[in-house]
Amino acid sequence: MKKLWTTFVKDVKLSYTGLYFYIEVGMAVIFMLIMLFVVPENFDQTQTYYVYVDQSLSVPFDESQLASESTVVERFDSRSDLEEALTDKRSAIGIHLKEVDGKFTYEMVLQGYESDSMKALIKAGIEGEFMSAMPGYVDQTSVETLEVQSERMSDREAVLPVYLVLNVGFMGLFVIAAYVFLDKEEGVIKAFAVTPVHVWHYLVSKIMIMALMGVVTSLIVTIALVGFKINYLLFLGLVLSFNVFGSTLGLLITSFFDNMTKAMGALFFSIFVMMFASLAYFMPSFNPIWLKFLPSYPMIFSFRELLLENGNTGYMVQNIFLFFGLSAILFAYTNLRFKKTLTV
């Protein structure tokens, strides 16, 4: 253990005099500043409706009844005025209210980028908002929520799990590969290999450096964004286990290549695939089974649980153990590979 500690201390010295450490910390600070001063706590979700009421409508229509926190309604005198206004504001939706054969009806005037599912949503929204404003309308819709105690994070907090996974789980893939290839290029691996130390000393020291960087950078961002309202013991467990897993995976990929340029493709591909899990996070309706097998899936959702007031501690602890276990298996194989390839 003395030799591991000696190697780690040397790596710390090299890291804080090197560029990578400051790039990592700098990125964390930039992300924190953007989240605090550029990104609002919650994104504006107000929907703007441009309405043209046709002369054929026999019942009076009062748009002021529709205005609410989430809705802005603006009335136009002609269909052409409405269409012209829509070209100026691409996020607005146009509605042409009219009466055909004595029945109240409407026509949606859309921008063209809307998908079928979005059209269906708009249709439901219009009917919910406008029909209820029409005389004689009876609302028979009932809403039942399955998750009674469901919580919602602010939009700013909701971005944090994805950032943390990217930062502690997968940026390590690149950085640890860069460290190893730099040592190879400078030949210091060979000098190290002719001393009575084991290859695992070298590898674990690199993983420890990555863990240290991961903890520092993720603490900077997390404390700034959510303060001290989360369980930081669990936070450390998650950061360390995911970071160790990411670094070990990075080392394993590195062991198959002899320089950074050749390894780049495999590293990019890994991160690209892993980031698919964020789709399920931001779009809960997209949640195929295969996505759940990506390591990034439980990582993102563990951080999400951590940020919730009543997060599932069991799920988080289970994932901490799972990722430490997976890391141990990956490391055993990586160590075997590096015994053969580190100095070749």
Partner: protein, 284 residues
């Protein structure tokens, strides 16, 4: 100290061998020169002996360790000085040595004393990245002495150094030789090999062509002649006399007794000439 039997190595894992079935032995306390041009297989052999390259085929024993089942504590007994300087540029000279010193399980030499030995003590606290090529080379060289190695691998220890520093390095090697250190010297500098080595091996195209002591090689391949510069009737004359021919020996005796000799030397072959004669190739 080193036994190599039928050693083969291929970088492409096929029949294209960089080292082709070489065998040799090095005794304890011997300085063994491994001589050959670039690409001859010198570095490959040293790489296998130091564990940096895997042992694919053949048997190798280094410092009592079978390289098929080598153990890390073997490196407490050996030191390796690389041809290419490979120090941590962001650490100072003393930090570089202090770091490696802590990795050994045996008594080590005071890093500052090692730096003094090669004249780097005044820049001990400067970052190695600011050093010249020669300074880095000296740092790499003394790093290999940290653990007082019983077996010392030196790869081109004087390449790229100015003559004064090269002489300093040669004197250090001589001192270690006197203390009983076994040295495996890889070089293409025949003068250094001639001065330091008890025996040399000529390797070319992965094959050892010859192993013997520099003295025996000179006797075997040198011409048995004496060249004499002497003055006859106020004129400088150079004559060659055979050391085998009776008539020539008599003439030589006469000149020694009666003539005015300015210079006289045996016409022995240099290692380089012998190498070219044996292998048919130069060393560059």
């Amino acid at each position: 100290m080193i036994t190599v039997k039928n050693l083969y190595h291929s970088y492409t894992n096929d029949q294209a061998y960089a080292v082709k079935g070489i065998s040799f032995e090095i005794s304890k306390g011997e300085v063994f020169g491994f001589l050959g041009p670039s690409g001859a297989g010198k570095s490959t052999t040293q790489g296998i002996l130091t564990g940096l390259l895997p042992l694919q085929k053949g048997d190798v024993e280094v410092a009592g360790y079978d390289m098929h089942h080598r153990k890390r504590d073997m490196f407490n007994k050996i030191g390796v000085s690389f041809e290419q300087s490979n120090v941590y540029n962001k650490l100072s000279a003393i930090e570089n040595l202090e770091f490696y010193k802590k990795l050994f399980d045996v008594n080590t030499v005071d890093p500052m004393k090692l730096l003094e030995l090669v004249g780097l003590d005044k820049v001990a606290h400067k970052k190695a990245g600011t050093f010249s090529k020669g300074m880095k080379h000296r740092l790499t060289f003394v790093r290999s002495m940290l653990n007082n190695p019983e077996l010392w691998f030196l790869d081109e220890p004087t390449t790229g150094l100015d003559p004064a520093i090269a002489r300093q390095i040669i004197e250090i090697v001589k001192q270690k030789k006197a203390e009983g250190t076994t040295v495996f010297l890889t070089t293409h500098n025949m003068n250094i090999a001639d001065e330091l080595c008890d025996r040399v091996a000529f390797i070319i195209d992965g094959d050892i062509k010859l192993i013997d002591s520099p003295r025996n090689l000179k006797l075997q391949f040198g011409e048995k002649l004496v060249v004499v510069d002497h003055i006859v009737n106020d004129q400088k004359i150079q004559d060659k006399f055979s050391l085998i021919n009776k008539e020539d020996l008599d003439k030589l005796n006469t000149i020694i007794q009666t003539g005015r000799i300015e210079m006289m030397h045996t016409k022995e072959a240099t290692l380089e000439e012998i190498f070219i004669k044996v292998t048919g190739r130069g060393l560059e």
